[in-house]
Amino acid sequence: MSDRTGDSGRLELAVSTPEEFDRVVSQALPVLLERARNYTKRFMRETGQWCDDTAHEKFTLRWSAEYVERFILCGRSEVPCRPLFLLDSFVAKQHSQPDPFCYHPNLLTPLGRFLDGLVARAVISRDALIALYHHCYGMGPRDVIAVTGLNDSESQRVYKNFQRWRDSGWRRTMNEIGLTDAELDELIGHQERHPQRLNHEAEQIIRLAQSHYRKSEPDHYPCLLRSQWEEMFSEGYGCDYRLWHLVLCMDCVQTAWDLGCNGAITGDKPRVELHVRP
């Protein structure tokens, strides 16, 4: 407790250089995380989104850690400043936005946390974005390349993304979401016993998460008509758009699924087939 008081006291003092900021902040990470967590919890209480359970606690911790991480790296350029109060303003600014995070009661079940965590990660990680094709639709690298109509250079990158996700990305994401091995095993067991029911539940949650996170990229937000997708595929432009939008929009991936590879894809339209492990 006295350490925390001491850390908090140092954080209240003004720092004048980035190095000093780094030093003070690195020594007080638990204090910063706790402070951000309290603010996030208060925000959720005041907006009627709070419930006293482990899932909500983990939800606030997850987003608080995100805030603190961004604060650590961006706050050092705000010197001279008082780090503690700079954090307050940083968190308040995040919460002043209309939808600072994607919240829904269905997203706090183990399945909801798994899918919300994956889609949230896909917004900032290309590895997770590519891996989402696998976790939602059971696609491998070749299927992803076929559905999105990627060229050779982009195709190589897809294999690398898949590999890195399998090696380290998935595990780190599960740790940062807060899903325990027991919860993951329970999910996998549920999938084996009732695959159709789980896929149906997953589809509803995926649509919920997709509609929120698609707004994070306004340029790629609009859904296109099949004729517009045809043009994009045939002209060969909008590689990024295809890759990003198709995995974050179930309707569009079913509209444009056969436009890649000049119609050489066989099989049915993509449907939700949840895969928990990479």
Binding site: T54, S77, E78, D127, K160, N175, E176
Partner: protein
């Protein structure tokens, strides 16, 4: 308890992640870096040279720029100032990225430059492959000769070292070794030793030259980096000036239009006011004209009725004189004749003296407008009196037809619902 332990472990994992920071990324230097502006993915930076710089112009203020690896780890960031410039250099293991944000009232711009670490073999490779420029962010034209010199000296050094090594190995592998006996003639390896010493001296000279060249290249690199900074500053200053000029231009146009617009607006107001007054006058004139015409019509009608009544009076006078002559002889009969010849009092009152009109009451149909009523009364050459319980009093100069027939004619009018002669 288990939940609390679970939460504690989760908190500890998150804190560990915060402490490790960017080092938890599994990406290497060959992977691209994602650039996020205002927490939205804006582009990518490729350290291999194809996308070594990134620029963005925004209509709104740039609050922050963040760099993330392909696996989503936050590598660095910079908060944008309210107004003005802010720069930061982010070290990524051996490479570096320079961030620059410039915010003005018209919006913001972000520059991101990838600066890979100088690598000896990379120089050599790029020199021989002709891609030296891409090693230092595309502006290494002045450094190429220095790089080439270093590359050549390094190649020469390598060849010499290999030659020496081969020579030494050969010497060691020679089976018989005779110790030197003193004279140069009896020591056949003395000459190679001299040559080796010369070579060693040359190697030393080469090494010194290489060190000097490396120092020169380093100082040139620093100069280039400063030049880059200066160019970036200059370009952003230029942008500021250009945007300022544009703002001034817009302001001037706005003021011109505003001034002209105000004058036009005032003129339009005055004109519309004048038009309104003119229209009002015209309406008044029109109404007066209409009233005048109506009065003229009524007067004409009254004059005509007067004439008719005079005619009737004249025609009635001989009868009255005849009646007075008969009275002397048959007063009773005369009276009866007078009585029989006299019209009913109401009719006399109405027709008598040529000054009284026929009075009756009309109930008009529902929905009949006042204009219709007025027009009908006007056509009747009459005038309206009071309205009592929905009955309109009307006075007309009744034509010389029986009253019942006249009332029948009135009832025949479309707007008339009912007629009576008493209130």
């Amino acid at each position: 308890m288990e939940e609390e332990r679970d939460l504690s472990e989760y908190r500890a994992r998150l804190l560990n992640g915060l402490e490790v920071g960017a080092r938890r990324s599994a990406c290497d230097s060959s992977d691209s870096i994602q650039v996020f502006v205002n927490e939205r993915r804006a582009g990518q930076l490729d350290g291999r040279g194809t996308d070594a710089t990134f620029q963005l112009y925004n209509d709104t203020r740039i609050n922050n720029v963040q760099l993330r690896s392909e696996d989503g780890v936050l590598l660095g960031g910079l908060s944008g100032p309210e107004y003005g410039f802010r720069t930061s250099r982010i070290q990524l293991s051996r490479d570096a990225v320079e961030l620059r944000i410039h915010n003005t009232a018209q919006g913001g711009s972000a520059n991101v430059v990838f600066m890979p670490a100088p690598h000896r073999w990379r120089w050599l490779w790029q020199t021989f492959s002709g891609t030296a420029d891409t090693a230092i962010g595309g502006r290494a034209a002045a450094v190429v000769p220095g790089i080439r010199i270093i590359a050549l000296t390094q190649a020469l050094l390598a060849i010499i070292v290999l030659g020496l090594a081969a020579d030494r190995i050969t010497a060691w592998l020679t089976p018989e070794r005779t110790p030197p006996t003193g004279t140069q003639a009896e020591a056949p390896w003395a000459a190679p030793l001299v040559e080796v010493a010369k070579l060693e001296q040359q190697l030393g000279d080469l090494a010194r030259m290489q060190a000097k060249t490396a120092h020169t290249v380093q100082s040139q690199q620093q100069g280039m980096a400063q030049l880059q900074l200066a160019i970036a500053k200059l370009s952003s200053t230029q942008e500021t000036v250009a945007s300022g000029m544009q703002a001034i231009k817009l302001e001037m146009e706005k003021r011109k239009k505003g001034g002209g617009r105000e004058t036009t607006h005032m003129t339009r107001l005055l004109m519309s006011k004048a038009q309104m007054e003119q229209e009002q006058l015209e309406a008044q004139i029109h109404s007066l004209t209409v009233a005048n015409e109506q009065m003229a019509k009524e007067m004409a009608a009254l004059a005509q009725h007067n004439q008719e009544l005079e005619k009737k009076l004249r025609s009635a006078e001989p009868d009255v004189s005849k009646a007075s002559v008969l009275d002397r002889d048959h007063p009773v009969i005369a009276q009866e004749v007078e009585v029989s010849q006299q019209p009913p009092r109401s009719q006399i009152a109405e027709a008598g003296g040529n000054a009284q009109a026929f009075l009756f009451w009309v109930n008009f149909s529902e929905g009949t407008t006042q204009e219709s009523i007025a027009q009908w009364v006007s056509e009747m050459h009459g005038s309206r009196g009071v309205v009592n319980e929905g009955w309109q009093e009307v006075r007309v100069m009744k034509p010389p037809i029986p009253t019942d027939r006249f009332l029948e004619q009135i009832r025949g009018a479309q707007i008339v619902k009912a007629v009576r002669v008493t209130r």
